[in-house]
Symmetry: C2
Subunit: 341 residues, 2 copies
């Protein structure tokens, strides 16, 4: 529920921390990996192969989401909770692992409605379960005040005895492939920032907005890729060109993308691009937040289910460094960087 409609409702300032926690706890996901859950100074989580993956990600109001977008859409607590689950589970997926547990810190203004916090907890749980990680428990958290809403999740996971799939392992001759989707969340972001009210969008375009607000990273694909011999992997959170450039730099290789393959991702976005009088391809090349997987595989093997080939890995030429090319041509980097433009 949007915050501004609820200022006469119960807010977090009306409750003690214990009372607020009592409303949150029953809404959180409980899985089998938790040896000791919320209530003590730390939780205890199973790490069956003697190692644990760990990652952390923050979403901040007006930076990673707006409570009210230009087109009138209001970000719900459910959206923010879902997205927190999605982006963190994706980091474990990108290593070839499965999330076992997460802890969450929620900072918010005292005027935040309790209902928003409950929606957040519901969205976090719905994301975890809906994205296919029902074994991932919410093990604990932290509540605090701030001038803006900020959500930080740290997630731990298991590789089930396998080595992690690194960004750095791509070899010349490998196939470049993606799982999940590219550009949908960016198209949704453009629609949210447009003047077109949500009600005026047909279902296909509304679905793009949903891809921005509740992304669906392909959580089955990471472990599958790891088991199929992926040589390198990462999630596309800052855009294909930028993240592809990171993968290329880590392996000191060139990632050469096939325009025809990229066009297959751009095609479904053309109606949104036409509605906004813009082009679809920049969304495919520069859009993050879909949290698709970018992976490389040895040539000749059958790609695991869910992956589509989009190019090949090539050796760095004498006169050039690592980087992303499109059909052999240097691609200008577009995508997300938190501080530089």
């Amino acid at each position: 529920m949007p915050i501004e409609d609820l200022t006469d409702q119960l807010t977090v300032a009306h409750l003690s921390e214990a009372e607020l926690l009592a409303r949150i706890f029953p809404r959180l996901n409980h899985g089998p990996n938790i040896l000791l859950g919320p209530g003590d100074d730390a939780a205890l989580v199973a790490a069956p192969d003697g190692r644990t993956l760990i990652s952390i990600d923050t979403q901040t109001q007006d930076q990673d989401f707006r409570l009210r977008w230009n087109n009138g859409y209001r970000t719900s607590g459910f959206d923010v909770g879902w997205k927190a689950a999605a982006q963190n589970l994706s980091d474990i997926n990108a290593m070839g692992g499965r999330a076992t547990s997460l802890v969450v810190s929620l900072t918010m203004p005292p005027a935040t409605p309790v209902q928003w916090v409950e929606d957040f907890a519901d969205g976090l749980t719905a994301g975890i379960v809906g994205l296919g990680a029902p074994d991932c428990s919410v093990a604990g958290g932290d509540l605090g005040r701030g001038r803006e809403i900020a959500v930080t999740v740290a997630v731990v996971g298991t590789l089930n005895g396998r080595p992690p799939v690194l960004r750095s392992g791509a070899k010349p001759g490998d196939v470049v492939a993606v799982a999940g989707t590219l550009g949908r969340a960016a198209a949704g972001l453009a629609l949210l920032e447009s003047d077109i009210p949500l009600a005026d969008l047909d279902p296909e375009l509304r679905a793009l907005v949903n891809s921005q607000c509740r992304p669906e990273p392909p959580l089955a694909a990471g472990p599958l890729a790891a088991g199929s011999g992926a040589t390198a992997m990462m999630d596309v959170s800052d855009g294909l060109l930028r993240d592809g450039g990171r993968l290329a730099a880590a392996g000191n290789v060139v990632v050469d993308l096939d325009p025809a393959a990229l066009q297959r991702f751009a095609g479904p976005l053309v109606p949104a691009a036409m509605r906004l009088a813009t082009d679809a391809m920049p969304w495919v090349l520069g859009g993050g937040e879909d949290h698709g997987l970018l992976a490389t595989f040895p040539a000749g093997i059958q790609l695991p289910e869910g992956f589509t080939a989009i190019g090949s890995v090539q050796a760095v030429a004498q006169s050039e460094g690592s980087g992303v090319r499109i059909a052999g041509q240097a691609a200008d980097t577009v995508g997300w960087d938190h501080f530089a433009d």
Copy 2:
């Protein structure tokens, strides 16, 4: 270095995320537990006994610290980094464990000086090493923009095969003891919020300010207590009465405190209290952020090094619930709650 003096200096807005990370990485602590460090989507940390402790804590500007206090003291990045280490390592300590690794998310305005961020990284490392956890590596992190500085750390740790020491295990007849200190950080906070410039404080009072800005939780005491048969334990982060009340509630017991023992913590704070025309005992009873340990031990055993007895555990009387008493009298709860007053 304080932010407001540096607005004509290099800020994070001048650097790309990669450039900023390149300045941070060399300053971070690297220990033996890291199987895969920063640079991929998640880090991989050893969990030698097949389990991992995990906790998360956030500090937000103007809520958990002020960049410039009323007395003129300016919080440095080093202070914030040290405190982030202290409060998170304390959560692992409170379970009887040792921290193996942490991940950190730093949200900040674009005008934040790069020097402040470097100081933060230095303070984080200095805290980890200086507090006695040199094996705890900084495994990764996240950088983002926001209107205010917010630091979230998630820490993982190991129990080395031991069971965790819970809040709920106190039994009637147990001795109540603390390790570390009580009230010093609160006295320091009162000095920071006073009109007395730092330069006018004698070294004893300046040391109290330091206890607030760079607390020193007793990290050896947690594992020692666990090995010595502590029945319950937690860290005192929100004040002795409030946290003692939580321990009492978790075990459904009464924690009865000995005023003479508490007086030994209040005594050294009397000069500060006199300077501020107030009383020292409320700092001892209500002050958090020293991150001392509150633990209970079976009667008759020798308390482990660093612990001081401050009371006893008693059964709940018929007419009353669990809670904290001082010499048998009900104690009004004072201390820190994030949302209620």
